[in-house]
């Protein structure tokens, strides 16, 4: 509120050093806290000034996506120091960075290659793990071979073993049987095979006890030819395990077998 009595105080332009007992009007003034004052450029030459003088309608243009955009300058933002992350070889301003370029690159690529080597190794391990899962398991492999002591099998007898879940016939043939089988001409057979192709030692016949017809187990020392006879459909095999009569198409299979010594047979 202005009181009329105070009005003259507004026209004073002297500061009171010694109070004159008059009540001064409470003039509110805020001193500007500006520290930067912009001085408009007026040109330094008459020509520059002349070019800047408007001679027609004055308009002001501004826009959101044009060059009148103002970026407020911040002077309180310090430039971050990244030297903790920089390599020592490029910190010095007196040394050319290109001098250490190769060694820096080598290091980087070496790390990359190390990862490459590691992943190649792991990849190989993983792949071989999977591939090996396709091969036979250890318990199967453990039963894959069978050792047979030949001394236990008397002449003229056919002994049945279990090998890889299947019956295995080992027959100790007599001299007579050998002669008979040797003399059978291969051309007269359904599945032509000479006896010599089927046995390693003439006195020992090693065949799988699975009928080639439908997989029954033939009976030893039976049938028309004195070898094996399949009771299921009447296939007759001779003493060399060859099909001679009946529906089976093929001879009994001879597994891989070796005779490491005179009285030992290893099948598988």
């Amino acid at each position: 509120m202005l009181k009329p009595a105070n009005v003259p105080n507004y026209f004073r332009a002297v500061s009171q050093v010694v109070s004159n007992q008059l009540t001064a009007g409470n003039q509110a003034a805020i001193l500007p806290s500006k520290s930067i004052v912009y001085v408009p450029y007026t040109g330094t030459s008459a020509l520059a000034l002349s070019r800047a003088l408007p001679s027609g309608n004055v308009s002001v243009t501004t826009g959101p996506a044009v060059s009148t955009q103002v970026r407020w300058a911040h002077t309180d933002i310090t430039v971050p120091d990244f030297s903790a992350y920089r390599k020592d070889s490029v910190k010095s301003p007196n040394v050319r960075s290109s001098d250490s370029e190769d060694s820096r690159k080598n290091f980087t690529y070496l790390i990359a290659s190390a990862f490459g080597v590691g992943s190649a190794y792991s990849a190989k391990a993983v792949v071989s793990q999977f591939v090996s899962s396709m091969s036979a398991s250890a318990d199967v492999l453990a039963l894959a071979k069978i050792e047979i002591k030949l001394a236990d099998i008397p002449e003229g007898k056919s002994v049945t073993f279990k090998w890889r879940g299947k019956p295995l016939f080992v027959r100790h043939r007599t001299q007579e049987e050998i002669q008979i089988e040797q003399s059978v001409p291969a051309s007269s057979l359904r599945d032509p095979q000479h006896d010599n192709e089927r046995v390693q030692r003439p006195e020992w016949l090693v065949v799988l006890g699975v009928c080639t017809h439908l997989g029954c187990v033939p009976i030893a020392n039976a049938g028309d030819f004195g070898g094996y006879y399949c009771p299921c459909h009447g296939s007759h095999y001779d003493a060399s395990g060859r099909i001679r009569k009946g529906p089976a198409p093929l001879n009994l299979e001879v597994p891989e077998h070796i005779f490491p010594s005179d009285d030992l047979l290893i099948v598988g």
Partner: protein, 443 residues
């Protein structure tokens, strides 16, 4: 985000031209200007200049002369609010989408008009056009965004060049209110222009009867269909006349230079003949050197000042508004010599006999500058924009048409124009005013 913005197939019908007849970058400046007025009184004007750059402008007769004492400075805030979030597009979307296609969007204000202009390559304009619609007609003025531009207002005020302030002052002295309003917000008003004030100003001034849509490098039928889609309130709004009153304003700011504007009443834009006479007079008195490194022109003012005073700059300014105009001399000089220069200028305005030779020189210079300005799309657009917003479709002329009219100006018309200007003078000065005389001191 932009899916609900209407898209107009504006340039489907654009003619494809062969290389042999490729138009210059600025377009053909002499091409025909077509004008139509829509049922809602919106004026559409277009000139298919074949320029590869298309410019589309939405102009409203809403310049600073429409400000009242309670919303002084609203056009400055409005100008800086161009590009703030609108009904359908965010601030980010507007800037991003326009910059992405390589177009530019800006707002221009003067005492008569507020215009929003989009310019860019033809294909870019088609994509960016919905954002021009948004910025020009769908403003929402979110309060937090409006308050954010306060710093920008302060910067704008702080960086005004003194010659611009001299022009502002001479308007203020000559017209007091209305046309006397500055293009810049007064410091005391900063922070007081609220979102509501802006909305009210836009609602009362951005009306179809006060608006026009201008295109350069656009076919008129395309522009018409675009203009029909604009959602503008119909109406004419209120125009307050702002007659010339005259007076004197001084602002002593120190420094080395004084900027002094001596002015009298000029021609209204509606009076084309008188406006041309004033334009010829302006050139006859001289608008500063055209030649590089020369320090003075060949005009009457330079001649009457003579070679005795050096290191000053002067120009004659001539502005035509809807109902009146301002014509005068603007001098920038070291404070020592400012006094005598102002006296010479006043004397020149008061008692000069314009010779036939001066008129011919003035005509030639006017024609040259009209044609040179006509080659600039921005300039032409602004020129046509002002004409359409004020004259509402009646007798709108392209720069090349105006040139043809210049010859009809006689020496007598020019002399009459000078007489009108000198009838009541206005003086406004800013800078170091130690030696600048008051108006009543000048004999």
């Amino acid at each position: 985000m932009t899916s609900n913005l209407a898209k107009f197939p504006l340039f489907r019908t654009a003619t494809i031209r062969g290389y042999a007849q490729l138009a210059p970058l600025g377009g053909i400046s002499s091409c025909e200007l077509k004008t139509t007025v829509l049922p809602n009184k919106l004026v559409v004007a277009s000139s298919e200049s074949q320029s590869p750059i298309t410019r589309i402008s939405i102009v409203f007769r809403a310049g600073s002369r429409n400000e009242a004492s309670d919303n002084l400075g609203v056009t400055h805030v409005l100008r800086n609010s161009a590009g703030l979030s609108t009904k359908n597009a965010s601030q980010f979307a507007i800037i991003r989408n326009i910059q992405q296609v390589g177009a530019a969007l800006y707002a221009t204000t003067d005492r008569e008009i507020v215009s929003y202009t989009l310019e860019g390559p033809r294909q870019a304009i088609e994509k960016a056009l919905p954002f021009l619609t948004e910025v020009a007609t769908q403003q929402v003025f979110k309060p937090w965004e409006v308050s954010d531009i306060t710093n920008r207002l302060l910067l704008d005020i702080a960086t005004r060049p003194l010659q611009l302030r001299a022009i502002d002052l001479v308007h203020n002295a000559a017209f007091r209110s209305g046309l006397g309003n500055s293009l810049f917000i007064p410091k005391s008003q900063i922070g007081k222009i609220s979102s509501e004030t802006l909305q009210h100003y836009v609602a009362s001034n951005f009306l179809s009867g006060r608006a026009s849509v201008i295109g350069l490098g656009v076919d008129i039928s395309d522009l018409e269909s675009y203009a029909q889609g604009l959602k503008l309130e119909t109406g004419e709004g209120n125009d307050t006349p702002s007659p010339y009153k005259g007076g004197e304003l001084r602002s002593n700011k120190g420094g080395n230079t004084a900027f002094v504007a001596v002015a009298g009443e000029g021609a209204a834009l509606r009076d084309a003949k008188e406006a041309l006479a004033f334009a010829v007079l302006q050139r006859a008195i001289g608008v500063g050197p055209h030649i590089k490194w020369s320090t003075r022109d060949n005009g009457l003012l330079s001649k009457s000042i003579g070679a005795s005073i050096d290191n000053y700059a002067s120009t004659t300014f001539n502005v035509s508004y809807a109902d009146t105009g301002l014509f005068g001399i603007l001098i920038a000089a070291p404070s020592k010599s400012a006094g005598s220069l102002v006296e010479t200028a006043v004397k020149l305005l008061k008692c000069t006999k314009i010779s036939e030779e001066d008129v011919t020189r003035g005509k030639n210079q006017l024609k040259t500058s009209l044609l040179l300005d006509g080659e600039s799309g921005t300039h032409t657009l602004q020129n046509i924009g002002t004409q359409t917003a004020i004259l509402r479709g009646a007798s709108i002329q392209s720069p090349s048409q105006i040139v043809a009219l210049v010859d009809s100006v006689s020496a007598n018309d020019v002399q009459c124009a000078l007489k009108k200007a000198a009838k009541k003078l206005t003086l406004a000065s800013i800078g170091n005013l130690t030696n600048v005389p008051y108006l009543d001191e000048i004999k």
